[in-house]
Structure formats: structure tokens, C-alpha cells
């Protein structure tokens, strides 16, 4: 009963402290603003993707009209012949798109570090120039976005400090801490109940925003397990910081000392430790200039172009043994044009091999980050959060992997069709479209 009384008293105390109420409302406002920003980014991405899809459909319709009108291609390009698979496949606008997650408004994560649409050509790779992030102000990127995850992970502990630093601190300052012992008994329990009120308040606030966004974006249906995990993660995170602050309040004397220690703990966990790990990781794994990848796309690619048609023929057959069974594969003479049109398959294989090494190097750095989680819990929470909102490194790695699958598909189809000496008409073109998920 006494516990309940302390709990309800804390609620009254909170309401009667304008500084605390204003800070709390300010935090609420910041959350609303961050979520608005998240929605804004999500809508911008959706709009861009929609525009790309519309433009692609228009391009496809144009090609279909050429087939209907018996044209071989655009009038200004007389050398284009869309009945040749090389050109008809070239005239299928192929894009790999990363649709924004329904939970993006709750955590932008690393979304602004990567591109989310990629045009696939015969010469594409997953580290192309168009895989970089959208046009943005780099200084803004350094300061980061006011996104909801940032507010919960970095600012919520500061709010907790403002709400709790004078619990017991004030009593110490005015020297009536003994009075509490007389009136309530165990002072630790008294502090615990007062802390509990703020823990509940903050958990309720965060959950309220998570649920609101989930309802608006229908995430409770589409990404229920992620929503559940976000709620659990944020609650545990609040409890984690509250526990640290509770012990600081119990074992310190005076509100100044408590505030100083709490802020120091926040700085240590949110700024110093992640910064140290970051510095260490950068020393162990300096920025990768990816010279191996550059070599493949420049020197080694040009060496391949210098190879004889015979050598290229055998390299292509090695990559796709099924080419042996095609029309050209059965012919006695090698057609230089067909080989040159499909040489991109050789470069693609070279790219895939070198990219595997790059991904392994990145993975080694990530493993180092994982191993630091024991001393760096904030980065753990941050990356976990980003993984739930599909905005972490691995979400974009999956996206890169999907890009590679489409590149492989396009090049394999190109090789098989060119070697098969296919004559493309409207219906075959439509079959190609289906391969790339066009519903025309």
C-alpha cells in the first residue's frame, strides 16, 4: 500500500514539476517530429520507386509498339535491331529496387548511406557508381538525422537523467534523507519505486509511438515479429539505463553529484565507448580503396577484351556449360559478334569473385564490431534496432545480393538467347518481360 502511495505521489510530483513536464513534452514533440521525418523519407523513396516503375513501363510499351509497327528500333539508331536478343534484352529497363520497410519511420539507420534503386545492365556490378547514396548534404549526414531510434537510444537516457537525477539527490541536498528512512523504511526501495514510475512512463511513451507507426503502416500485419522485437528491445534498453541510474542514485550523495555521474555514464556508454571501438576498427581495417575491384573493372577487363575470340568462347562455355547445347554451340565456326555481345558474362564472373573478397573484408570488420558488443551495448542496440527496421548493413547486403541475382539472370538469358540465335518477336519479348517481373 505504501509502495502504491509512493508511486502515485511520484506521478503528482512529476505533474507539479514544470521543468520535468516541459522536458517530457519536448521529448514527445521530438519523437513526433522524428517520425514525421521518417515518413517523409519513406514517402520520398516510395515516390522515386513509383516514378522509376512508371518510366520503365512507358519504355516497355514503346518497344511493344515497335514490334507491332514492324520497326527494328528507334529511328535515330539505325543499327539497333530488336529482333536480335542482344538488343531486345537491352531494351528491357531492368531495375532492382529496395522498397522501404514499413518500419522505416521508426529507424532510418544506415538507409541514407546506400542507394535503393539500381539499373541493371550487362556490365553492372554491386559496387557500381549508381549504388551510392542519394544526393545529400554530407555535413548533415555526419550530424545524422533526428530519427526515432536516435531519440530512444541516445536522447531518452538524457531525459531519464533529467527526470530522475534529483530522486534522493534533493533529499540529500536538504538533509532530510533520514526522514524518508523514518517514514518509509528502506530508502533503496523508496528510490526503486520512484524510478519505476519513470521507467513505466518512458516505456509507455516509446511503445505508444511504435504502435502508432505500426498501425498507420499496417506493420502489425506485415512485420509483426519486428514490431514485437522493437518493443522488447526498447523496453530492455530503458530498464538497462534505469538500472545504472538507480545504482548511481543509491550510492551517490547530492543532486549535483548524481547528475554528474549520470551524465558521465551516458557519455561513456553512448559516446566514448562506441567512439573508441570505431577508432579501433578503423585502425585495424582502414578505409578500403577497393583497388582489386578497380583492377577487375579496368585493367583486367581490358585484358579480357584483348583475348582472342576462341579463348573467350571457351571461357563463356566454362561459365555456362549449357551454351554447348545451343545453336551456336553446335556450329563449327565461332561467330565473333555473338562472342563479343556476351563477353560481359566473363567480366561478371570476375566481378563476382572480387566482390566476394570485399564482402569478406567487410564481414571481418563486422565481426570485430560484434565482438565489441559486450563492452559496447549501445551499438548492439542500435544495430539490432536497424535490423528490425531493415536499414542496417545486412539489409543492404541482401539488397546487393538481389542485385547480383538479377545481373546473373540477365546475362545468362542474354548468353543463352544470343547463342541460340533467337529471332525475337512480340511474344518472345513478352516472355522476357515476365522473366523480369513485368506484367504487360
Amino acid at each position: 500500500m505504501r509502495e502504491l502511495h509512493v508511486f502515485s505521489y511520484e506521478f503528482k510530483h512529476f505533474l507539479k514539476t514544470p521543468a520535468k513536464v516541459i522536458t517530457y513534452l519536448f521529448f514527445m514533440f521530438a519523437c513526433a517530429y522524428s517520425i514525421y521525418n521518417g515518413f517523409d523519407l519513406q514517402n520520398k523513396q516510395k515516390q522515386t520507386i513509383q516514378n522509376i516503375e512508371i518510366e520503365n513501363k512507358n519504355k516497355v510499351l514503346k518497344v511493344l509498339t515497335w514490334f507491332e509497327e514492324g520497326k527494328s528500333g528507334p529511328e535515330s539508331k539505325s543499327w539497333v535491331d530488336i529482333s536480335n536478343p542482344y538488343w531486345s534484352l537491352n531494351y528491357i529497363p531492368t531495375y532492382m529496387l529496395k522498397h522501404p520497410s514499413s518500419l522505416l519511420p521508426l529507424g532510418v539507420g544506415q538507409a541514407e548511406q546506400y542507394g535503393y534503386y539500381k539499373e541493371i545492365t550487362n556490365w553492372s556490378s554491386t559496387y557500381d557508381n549508381d549504388m551510392v547514396e542519394e544526393l545529400s548534404n554530407p555535413e548533415r549526414l555526419v550530424n545524422g538525422n533526428i530519427d526515432f531510434s536516435f531519440l530512444v537510444i541516445f536522447l531518452l537516457p538524457v531525459l531519464l537523467i533529467i527526470l530522475t537525477y534529483n530522486i534522493k539527490g534533493l533529499e540529500d541536498d536538504f538533509k532530510f534523507d533520514k526522514l524518508i528512512t523514518i517514514q518509509f523504511g528502506a530508502i533503496k526501495k523508496w528510490i526503486f519505486i520512484r524510478f519505476l514510475f519513470y521507467v513505466f512512463l518512458l516505456i509507455f511513451t516509446v511503445v505508444f509511438f511504435i504502435i502508432t507507426v505500426s498501425v498507420i503502416n499496417n506493420s502489425l500485419v506485415t512485420d509483426f515479429s519486428q514490431v514485437k522485437s522493437l518493443i522488447l528491445l526498447s523496453s530492455l534498453y530503458i530498464i538497462f539505463f534505469a538500472t545504472i541510474f538507480y545504482f548511481i542514485a543509491v550510492y551517490s550523495c547530492g543532486s549535483s553529484a548524481i547528475a554528474f555521474k549520470m551524465i558521465s555514464a551516458w557519455l561513456l556508454l553512448c559516446v566514448l565507448i562506441p567512439g573508441s571501438v570505431h577508432q579501433f576498427a578503423s585502425m585495424k581495417y582502414p578505409v578500403n580503396y577497393m583497388t582489386d575491384y578497380l583492377d577487375v573493372n579496368r585493367k583486367e577487363a581490358y585484358e579480357v577484351f584483348e583475348l582472342s575470340t576462341d579463348s573467350l568462347y571457351y571461357r563463356l562455355v566454362e561459365i555456362y556449360p549449357a551454351l554447348n547445347e545451343t545453336v551456336h554451340g553446335q556450329e563449327d565456326e565461332i561467330d565473333n559478334r555473338i562472342i563479343r555481345n556476351t563477353v560481359c558474362a566473363v567480366i561478371n564472373e570476375m566481378n563476382k569473385n572480387v566482390i566476394k573478397d570485399i564482402e569478406q573484408q567487410n564481414e571481418a570488420k563486422n565481426q570485430l564490431i560484434f565482438s565489441s558488443y559486450w563492452v559496447n551495448p549501445v551499438s548492439f542496440v542500435q544495430n539490432k534496432w536497424n535490423s528490425y527496421t531493415f536499414t542496417d548493413y545486412y539489409s543492404y547486403k541482401r539488397y546487393r545480393s538481389n542485385v547480383q541475382k538479377i545481373i546473373d539472370k540477365k546475362i545468362e538469358l542474354l548468353s543463352v538467347e544470343c547463342w541460340g540465335r533467337r529471332k525475337v518477336n512480340r511474344s518472345i519479348y513478352q516472355q522476357y518481360l515476365q522473366e523480369f517481373n513485368y506484367d504487360m
Binding site: 551510392v132 533529467i162 539527490g169 559516446v271 542500435q382 544495430n383 536497424n386
Partner: protein, 469 residues
Amino acid sequence: MKNIVINEWKGLFRNRLFLVLVCIFTIALLLTTYLGILQNNTQILAQKEAQEHIREQWDSMDPTNPHRAAHFGSYAFKPTNLLNSLDEGINAVTGNVLRLEGHTQNDVMFSEASQSLLISKFGKLKPSLLFQFIIPLFLIFLSFNSYIAERESGRLKLLLVQGASLKKIVFSKVFSIWIIGLLLLISTTFVQLIFNTYDLSFDAIFRLILFVCSYGCYYLTLITLTVLLSLIFKNATGALSLSIVIWVMWTVFLPKIIGNTVEKISPFPTRVEFQNAMDVDRSKGIDGHNPSGDRKKELEEKTLAKYQVNSVSELPVNFSGILMQADEEYGNDVWDKHFGSLYKQLQIQKRNYQLSGFFNPFASVQSLSMGTAGTDMFHHLDFLKQAENYRRFFIKKLNDEYAFGGSKTGDRSWKADTKFFQSVKDFSYTFPVFLSFLSKYILDILFLFIWSVCLLFWLKYSSEKTIFL
């Protein structure tokens, strides 16, 4: 006043907690500066190796067609400056490699931030992180305690009775703590100087001086503000809370809010919109591989008239090379138009952000910190500009060789020799002298100065008006 300052230091150095904290800060600063220098040197070496590796390939190129060589292209690697070890600025989020080739102007790629999971939202543990986040907090608590302790212990009354004025007391407190902040700053700069003596220029020293001065001004602002609040507020906790709230607002909240707002005021097009707009403008020009249209005819007629011949086959030069160069120059105009306006927009955004220094001195100190370390947007844009200028020189050299090096129109198999390729100078980035950029930081310098001077005046005014006894 001198006696009060000395007395203040004596008091501080008698405090074991203070001594421990100062030792921790000094060691942490020296260590992070040293580690920063080590990491920086590793990066400088890696960048140099990459550039040499690419150049080696270029120098050993077999005789080939110059236009083919233009497609083969080169790379510019963003160099790391000596002072990057102080403040990393935007280097982690911008790319580091720029492909330089014919027909196309590429984006800078492979940013560090895209190569791993997220580690720190506030950047690496560089001296700037300590200067911007840790030391200010330490100074806030020091200055808060310094005055409040005197008041609450009753010593302040004693000092006033003995004849010292409140103004002298508070100013002594401000300066005694400020000097501690300055000592930490100077010791870091000293380490920076010791480990980089081999490559220290006047420019680097000037940058370091400005670096120290900007943080010095910021610390003076923070200390004065804290002392002022503890003077104005009778409630010690209220003063401390407000100081911390202001510090959090300045360092964590406002930079993000303002950065976001500034970008929203003048939003960028999406990359696809930007590229489409460039493609549309480019298509109006000459396509080097598809020479048709009025521009091509105009150029052909002009060239024929210049050489007084009737057809391109009679030309003593290779018209394809001339055409390629004309295409490049048209592309350069398109690039200047689109990227010019993009860079202008970035600079407007930066200026708007700098204006926020009016109510957030942290924005000014952050901007000056990155600026003096050579890691801000202005320096990044300068790198991009120099790289683009080099690309133009590089492609023109190749196109000119193709046009005037001895081949004739239609002679596609013509090859320039290895010696020619070796004679094309490599990209070398000239780090800008800070004085040439100084005008870009006037707002930051001005705001920091105004903040510290205004607060000092306010403190003077408040201390004169406060009746204590």
C-alpha cells in the same frame, strides 16, 4: 584578481577528484591524438599505395588508341590531410574513390560508413570528440561547482567582506577554469606538432592556431554561461539542470534539427531526377559515338574551312578526335550547369547552417573544427573540383593526341605509344591554403566571438547588479 585565480587553482589541485579527472583527460587526449595520428598515417599510406598502383598500370600501358585509353581512364583517391587526425569531419560518409574517364563524370564512391555496420553515431574517438563532448561537460561541472561551492560554504560572503568585488570573484573563476580548458587544448596541439614535424607548413600551423582559438572561444562561452546561470539562479540544481539541458540542446539536438531543416528548405533532386536532367541536356549536344545533328555538321564545316579541304578524309588530322573533344566540352558545360547548381545549393545549405551559430555556438565551433582540420564540405568540394579539372585535362590530352598525334579520320587502329601515356601527368591534389578559404568561415568566427564577448558583458553586468550581502 590574480590572487583569486591562484587561490582557485590551489583549491582545485588540492581536490583529488579534480586531479584524477585532469590526469584522465590529459592521458585520454594525448592517447587519442597519438592514435589518431597513427590511423591517419596508415590511411595516408593506403591512399598513396592505391594511387601509385593505378598510375603504375597507366604507365605500363601497351601502345593503344587514345580514345580507348580515355575509356580505360584513371582514378582519383581522396587524400587524407595531416590534421585529419584531429577531426575526421565528413570523411567517413563521403566516398574516397573517383573514376575519371571519357564522356562521363562519376560520383565519388566507397565511403567508410557503407563498408560496415554502424558503430558510433558521434564519430570516432578523435580529439574533436573529446573537445566537443567530454571536456565541455567537465568544464560545466567545474565552473558550476566553483561558484556554488563558494556560495554554499559561506566563503563567498567572507571574500566580499574582505573587500573583493563579486565581479572580480566570478571573473577569476571563469578565467581559472578557462585556462584549464586551454591547457588541454594546447597539449593536444603540441602532440600534433611533435608527431608531424616532418610535414609542418605555415598553413598547418595557422590552421592549428585557429583550431585552438575557436575551441578556446567556445569554452569561454560555456564557462561564462554556467557561472552566469549559477549567479542568476538561487537554486543550484536548477542552474545545473539548465546548463546541462542547454549543452545537450547545443551539441546533440540542434545540429540535427537544423541540419535537417536546412536540407528541407532547399531540397535536392533525387539522383535519378538529377541524372535524367543531365541526360536530357547532354542529348542536345554532340554524341561522340553517334555523330549526327546540326552541331556535328557545324563543327565539320568549321574544321574543313580551317584546313581548307572538302571532306574529312582529306583532313591532315583525325576528325574523330576533334569531335570527341567537342563532345567532352559540351558535356563539361552540362556538368558545370548541373553540378554547379548542386554545389551552390550545398554551399547555401552550409551558410544557412552556419547562421544557426547565432543561437548555437556549437554549430560554429564544429564548423571551424572541421574547416581547420580540412575535413568539411568546402574541402570536399575543392577535392571534387580539382579532380574534375584534372579529368578535363586528362581527356583533352588524349583526344588531342587522337586528333593531332598523327592519325587520320577513320584510322581507328591508330595507336599512341607508351611514352605518350607516361607523359600524361598524374592527378595530384593540392590541399588548399586556409587563408584562401577564410571568408567562408567568417560567420563562424564572428558568432563565436560575439557569444563569448556578449556573455562576458552579461556576466559583468549581472555581477555588478547582484546584491549578495
